[in-house]
């Protein structure tokens, strides 16, 4: 399936990315090529095959729900671009 310019715009929005007009052209071409290659998978019948999400058997890991020391708040705020009081500052949402 070909990825058209309008598809690139839609995917870019879902991905929260801006793309320039030039990039739309470029990505449309490159993503189409990649998707075309990937579609070879349709040669295989997988009707009765279970999907593998993790290749080794792993089980859920439980632990006691007890309070432990975590990373210091100050340290975390140190790398934040914008903070105010005890929070990360972002543009107005509502």
């Amino acid at each position: 399936m070909a990825i058209l310019k309008k598809d690139v715009e839609y995917i870019a929005h879902l991905s929260r990315l801006n793309v320039s007009e030039d990039e739309k052209e470029e990505y449309s071409k490159q993503l189409s090529n990649i998707i075309q290659h990937i579609e070879r998978l349709n040669e295989l019948n997988t009707d009765n095959v279970e999907p593998t999400y993790y290749a080794l058997d792993i089980k859920n890991v439980f632990r006691e729900d007890k309070i432990e020391e975590s990373i210091d708040k100050e340290k975390v705020f140190n790398s934040a671009p914008l903070i105010e009081k005890n929070g990360f500052k972002v543009p107005k949402i509502i």
């Binding site: 879902l14 349709n42 999907p51």
Partner: protein, 487 residues
Amino acid sequence: MELFKLTIEELHKQLIEKKVKPSEILDSIYKRIESVDPKIKAYLLLTKELAYNMAKKAEEKIMKNENITELTGIPVAIKDNMCLEGVPTTCAAKMLEGYKPPYTATVLERLKDAGAVFLGKLNMDEYAFGSSTENSSFFPTRNPWDLERVPGGSSGGSAAAVAADLCIAALGSDTGGSIKQPAALCGITGLKPTYGRVSRYGLIAFASSLDQIGPMTKTIKDNAILLKYIAGKDKKDSTTADIKVIDFAENLECDIKKFKIGIPKEYFIEGIQDEVKENVLSAIEFFRKKGAQIIDISLPHTDYAIDVYYIIAPAEASSNLARFDGVQYGLRDTEAENIIDMYKNSRQKGFGKETKRRIMLGTYVLSSGYYDAYYKKAQKVRTLIKQDFNFAFEKVDVIITPTSPTTAFKIGEKISDPLTMYLSDIFTIAPNLAALPGISIPCGFDKNNLPIGLQIIGKPFKEDDLYKIAYLYQKETNWHLKKPDIN
């Protein structure tokens, strides 16, 4: 003696015999870096002050003869996607320029506890997206065997640093071949451990069902030593396996006659460089002569692995990279008036081309209406690929293949065509999708004097098999001892 040339094994001996001090090893390596790294560009950051402090502590331990391990005083360099508290960790991404993590990755905690010394952070493809290190936001790294060529990727800085003696050993990370492929292209020894063998806590995530950290070294013995210290269950990574970590380096001898080695016909296909094929076949002949049983096998779904990978890995990456939104850390666009524009502008400014390409590809295959056709289909074919290996491992103990279809390619040669670039990982991807351990070791050179890599794939958690077989090979060959003439 030039100390920077030595291995972990050799330096450890000299350290415990008190013939050399950790700080003297550091002097030697930093001098080497100063003279050679401007040509190679393996390092993004040197952590000299930290290193000399760590060396001092190691020296005290050695003087007191207390808590000495094989890594005490040994300088190790780190791929820049592993967090070290307070030390800039960028993932070679502009997005994270100047970012200082508030915590340290488990592997680095473990190396620190063992007394290792951290030299600095190594270049890579941005977020580990790439096979050439050309996608670094900062600069490409060059192959020490030919400065016009790539070192492979994404752990290209790690492979080049080991090959050029800019460190004693390094850590890399592997998702689709990012340790093994650069190890092959730079002529060093690189192990991608079984998924779950090594903690991913503090490794900046790319594809969480595939990522593994592994050792990149000058020899098998060094590799086995390093793995021992980083491997094992970690309560901070619930996907780590609760499987005993043996002393991999203690017993590397083996009776090769007991080993059955599988040779999959799908890995010796048209399009692979003649010299790569010839050298891998002569290595197989070496094992046959030594008495190993060589068995022809088939892994029929091999050809589809690349397609499965380029659905699953970008899908997981698109989700993992959602965290780079300009809120908690990293680059932030401060002009935007609403939150969506703030996200979009920050990500536009911070992400490189390949990163955006992979995020979009991943978002597409996960998007409504396409999830079943692409993502779920890929997970089903992943099952078939895994079954191929399960079936093969009923008959053989290990599988030998080339690591990469060609030797190192020229800088710029594949960068404009992502699909061609992706194909340089065709031999490393399938075993990774099946979570299997794999190692790349040098097995010869082509006519341009570029190293060729041999991949040995093992059963889950049987890294010791890989080490034993590779050790026998390195004992009787000298490919891994050859050094590039850097000029």
